[in-house]
């Protein structure tokens, strides 16, 4: 009896921290939607380093008259605003290019065309159903009668539009009369942007992932889950020894 009581107490103290960790993280995970854990991004430097995530700051991007667009590691940034942060589970948008088009900025991936206002407001997102053809190879603009037209180059030829609603094929005769389209091309980003780029491209993880990793022990590395398995075994032993101590105490009381 004394032996079990002694080890029950020791095991209780040893596993108390992990038990609290499991209980608190379990509570949080049970209410992950109400707590919006998936929407909250954690940027803490030491934690990101612990996860082995390093900032991937782009050195090249697309420059506009009054701003820039850059992409790296699935994150699209325009003038310090994150436009898109593609999760690992998402099929990545393969970026084709970006260009200023009239009052808007057009950004194209192989399958989609995004139109933004300079303040980052999304005007329209065109997928294959609204595009003349995909995959998009190049994105450019051309001026006709003083009007800026957006040009999409695809394997079926180049298409132009005035409003991104109706498209017509760009004829080569027309090109020679108006000049060739100016294609959006990557340029080296100026050093003045490096501080803000470092900030906007700093790695982050959703809080839900961190709590989940705490709960499973994966945050402690390769042997973390094994550690949690040992803690779980400790909790099983505690439950069994607790019941055993209780039963013994009740029997003793009955005898007296």
């Amino acid at each position: 009896m004394h032996f079990v009581r002694h080890w029950h107490a020791r095991l209780g103290v040893l596993t108390a921290v992990f038990f609290l960790l499991l209980a608190l993280s379990g509570l949080a995970l049970n209410h992950t939607d109400a707590l919006h854990l998936a929407n909250y991004q954690v940027h803490t430097n030491w934690l990101m380093r612990w996860y082995g995530l390093k900032p991937s700051v782009p050195t090249r991007g697309y420059l506009f008259k009054d701003g820039y667009f850059a992409a790296s590691g699935g994150r699209w940034v325009m003038d310090d605003d994150i436009l898109l942060d593609q999760d690992l589970s998402e099929s990545k948008q393969a970026l084709v290019g970006a260009i200023a088009w009239g009052d808007m900025r057009a950004i194209a991936s192989e399958d989609q065309l995004f139109l933004y206002l300079p303040d980052g407001t999304l005007v329209d997102k065109l997928s294959s159903i609204a595009l003349p053809n995909t995959p998009i190879k190049r994105l450019g603009s051309i001026n006709t009668d003083g009007k800026p037209l957006l040009v999409l180059e695809t394997s079926q030829g180049s298409f132009i539009t005035e409003d991104a609603l109706t498209w017509r094929i760009l004829k080569t005769e027309k090109t020679s009369a108006t000049g060739a389209p100016a294609w959006g091309s990557e340029q080296i980003l100026p050093a003045t942007l490096s501080a803000s780029l470092k900030h906007t491209f700093a790695p982050s993880l959703p809080l839900e992932r961190i709590v989940l990793d705490l709960h499973s022990g994966r945050i402690f590395g390769r042997y973390g889950p094994l550690l949690m398995d040992i803690v779980a075994l400790g909790l099983i032993l505690l439950s069994l020894s607790g019941v055993w101590i209780y039963l013994r105490t009740v029997r003793r009381k009955d005898r007296h």
């Binding site: 939607d33 998936a38 690992l88 589970s89 998402e90 206002l117 005007v123 159903i129 609603l165 839900e208």
Partner: protein, 177 residues
């Protein structure tokens, strides 16, 4: 191939499949072909003005994501395709509205790791005939699915939005006449 190589190959396939959670059930083009029997009308655009945006925000609980909404309309039948976040990833769903009532709903792409049951016809047929009340809620209760509450909520919001936008386009048509 040795047994170990086969095992590793299988494991890789399983891991890759787990990471890739996107399920595209129907391409938008296929959905339109299904709705209009391969004779889809020309795509039209509804500009989300400030007035419309206010109403949209009441339904979605957040500002509309884009200023232009594309749709297809033939007579009193309009078709809408939306992306709305359930928990963390957007669900792409198509809605057909006829005479101000939901006629058809399909989940086109589901990206969340759980809650994909919202794609089943048994759930979606609850929307058939649903109308928008004056308080911009559906005129019927949609039974939820355990463990898929956020996806069901997102579907409800999109259904209400389709009905609102259909009403807006009908009003604009009357104004233009």
């Amino acid at each position: 191939m040795t047994n170990i190589t086969k095992f590793l190959f299988l494991l890789t396939v399983l891991v890759v499949n787990n990471v890739q959670a996107i399920e595209q059930y129907l391409k938008p083009e296929q959905f339109l072909a299904e709705v209009y029997a391969d004779n889809a009308p020309k795509q039209e655009v509804l500009w989300v003005t400030k007035e419309i945006a206010k109403q949209v925000e009441k339904i979605l609980g957040h500002a509309p994501k884009q200023l232009r909404q594309r749709y297809w309309k033939s007579g009193t039948k309009s078709t809408w395709i939306f992306d709305e976040i359930g928990k963390a990833e957007p669900i792409t769903a198509g809605f057909v509205v006829t005479d101000g009532k939901i006629a058809q709903v399909r989940v086109l792409t589901y990206r969340e790791s759980r809650g994909g049951e919202v794609r089943y016809p048994a759930f979606l047929k609850q929307y058939q005939g649903a109308e928008l009340q004056a308080d911009q809620h559906l005129n019927r209760n949609i039974d939820g699915i355990s463990g898929a509450t956020l996806s069901v909520n997102a579907m409800n919001r999109m259904a209400r939005l389709a009905l609102l936008f259909d009403r807006m386009t009908s009003m604009q048509e009357i104004d233009n006449k």
